[in-house]
Amino acid sequence: MSGPLCDLLPSGSDPGNPAALAGQPAEAALQWLPVLTTFEAAVRASGMSADLHDGSGVTILAPTDDAFAAKFSEDDLDHLLVADKDKLRGLLREHLVAGSLSLADLVAAGTVTTLAGTTVTVTGGGATARLADQADTVCADYQVAGARIHIINHVLGSLPTTGGEGGHRAH
């Protein structure tokens, strides 16, 4: 486990600690990571849970809730989750890479290709890596059944940005 956010996630013997997630399928493990509620809901809404434990393993680049809020307005996010499932699946594939790759594997590879077909550069090293020159891993290397989860701070892919600060939805 590495990255600045790891200390702020369930640890030690707390429910949801990394060791407790080790044997779990990815879609179950995601439910224990409190910064991934949007990503986790997106996986369920898209019907792609099974894609997260493909026989040959998968790498999950999971953007935080803050990253989703910065990327999409609340309305757009609702629309993705409720109505536009094709677009949602496309978005999720931008965050999945075939093979269960550790942070070190990613850095060593230098580039990876997502299930959406997009080539993503990986730079940096040590505790974090930078993806596509825009997303940093903030807590990497959750090992779950057949997959690695790396939490990142930016949504990947080419959908337009509609979120951000200032647009406080009224109650």
């Binding site: 702020l8 996630l9 707390d14 629309h79 409720v82 647009g167 406080h168 009224a170 109650h171």
Partner: protein, 700 residues
Amino acid sequence: MRDRRTTAILSALLAASLAAFAGPVPAQADPTEPNQVQGLTVAQGDGYATLAWTPVDGATDYQIERTPVAADDTATGPAVITGVWRPNRQINNSSPTFADAGFNPGARFQWRVRARFGTTAEAYSAPVAGTTRAPWGDPAVPGENLRTQWETTLAAQYTSDVNEYAYTAAVDELSDRVRVTEIGRTALGRPINMFVIGYPTPPATPAAVAATSPLMVNCNVHGNEPGDREACLIMARQLAFSNDPRTLDLLSHTTVLIVPTINGDGRAANTRGNSTGQDLNRDYSLIRQPETFALVRMLRDYRPVAGYDGHEFGNSSAGDLPMLPPRHQNVAQSIFDESQHMIEGHMYSQGAKDGWWPCPYGCNGGGNVGLSEETILRNTLGLKNVVNSLLELRSSGGTTRPDEGNTANNRRRKTFSALWTFQQFLDYHRANLKEITSARADAITFQVSNTGRIVFRGSRPIPAYPSPHPGEAPPPLDAPRDGQVLDQAPCAYKLTEEQYNGERTDGPAGQRTTVAQRLAAHGHKVVKVADGYVVPLAQPERGLIPLLLDGQAVEKLVDAERVYPTVTGERSGQLVVSGVTCLRDATVTGPVRVRAGGTLIATGSSITGPVDAGGAAGVFLTDTAVEGPVRVAQSSGPVVIVDATVTGPVDVSGNRGDAPLVAANTVTGPLSCGGNTQAPDNLGLSNSVEGPKSGQCASL
């Protein structure tokens, strides 16, 4: 404005109660350093610890430091700045307090506070230590030992739908005080449950609950704002099993209604809207969706007199707890005033005592929020004469709670701040029930009188609280714009058969409801006439009806025909009503006779002579004086006699429509009722009757 008048008194009481505070002995620092905080105390609440200290002259702000400690008070982890107190937190800067929260309840800590002058930090106070209150309920006592998923996972997970239903069923089964009732289903078929809680048992029927002037908390309308819902589930357990005198006293005097999850589909999907993408808090007037329809029907049947509606708010510089009353200008003044009093007169004062930071919605740089849409529950409730407030939980820690990068800390602070608010709401209701019910009575008599203009959109102003403000800015003025005011209110609206019973295209396919069903769910009185349906404004939700039925309304159901008064001014001789006759501010010298199938609507009028209606389609007699007997018998439709002054007897019998409304009247003769298909009701507004009250009206 009850709120502002009582503030000084409350502040004085607050100062006195703090002076008499008998909690832990204040920490003494010796020797004293310059500008060092003195007199620090800590008091434990549910999920928070209130720190209080003596202010340092000239301090800009204060930092609150928390350190985990063992039983012997040796540190077991690093000290962390968990809070920043700023003068805009509370209405009395002379007694600063801070509700530290976010920690795992039950842990032991040491706290210190230091003043800052600009960026210069002064010396820390001497420390105080304390063990925080463990999650409520003895782990060895059945019922008390129930815990939600959110609690058992230490806030790593929210309580799922499945876990909510199991927990709810267990509370129901183990507590005589609780009945869980399903008020409807979501679009996807999830049950929408409501806790009905009373002591020793809750009243058996909705009408019996209504008679206890119940209060309601709506916990989770936006599925991606789950903090209030967790508080509601914990509070339900406290109310169900706590035997402390306060809880028993509260539950002995009223019934608590808690709707934990109206938007179960959105909660499960983590979306703001429901499964169709509809924002349910833009649908409480139109009730296109099954969720809002269910809640509105529940309001009709259970009639809460006060409410809170829980949300979370993305503005990171707002207070802990932004609140707002129903502001729509069609809401009766008394409801607005009493709601403001609940917020400013109670929550602001109690917040200053316990260290939470309620503030007007918007609060700091809030933007264009908190307006007059009647589709929002806050306003819908106000238009239904319910004293109520919006509650927001600031989503992020913001600059005043810098230790919420840990999501669990953030979730706990939000949920326990909501729990504090809802418990305060119960206390407010208990202590102010007379004022609340009197505001409601004033509102109902105002609404049935159908006086004053109609505003389609536009709010009452929320003036800034006198300095020091809790927060910097109230929400925008939001005055009615051109074209959003109707100076001459119609007497009624008339709908065609197609408008009333025709199929709708709004709402989820397969679950759509007609206008007839929606008006019935609201409890609006409708008269069937030969060529359509008439909805008089002389009824308790007068302010809401034009927003649904007028062509000028911003979000209407239909563009119905305005029906204007037919009789105004002076009139002599017998008045015979066969069609729809509407009296407004009329003086009729002579008897009024409503023929079979006729409809009489009279407001603000005076009738010298008897009123006799036999077999009418509908009779509405409000804010009107009648000399002579009033007899309303065998009507096929609604009967509304409210705030009438009758010299002589009143007889309401054999009517076949919904329960006749006989409320707030002054009658010099007897009031007798019998043989009505549904017994007459007074909505809790008793009649002043000199003669005997008998039959179905004996207790009205």
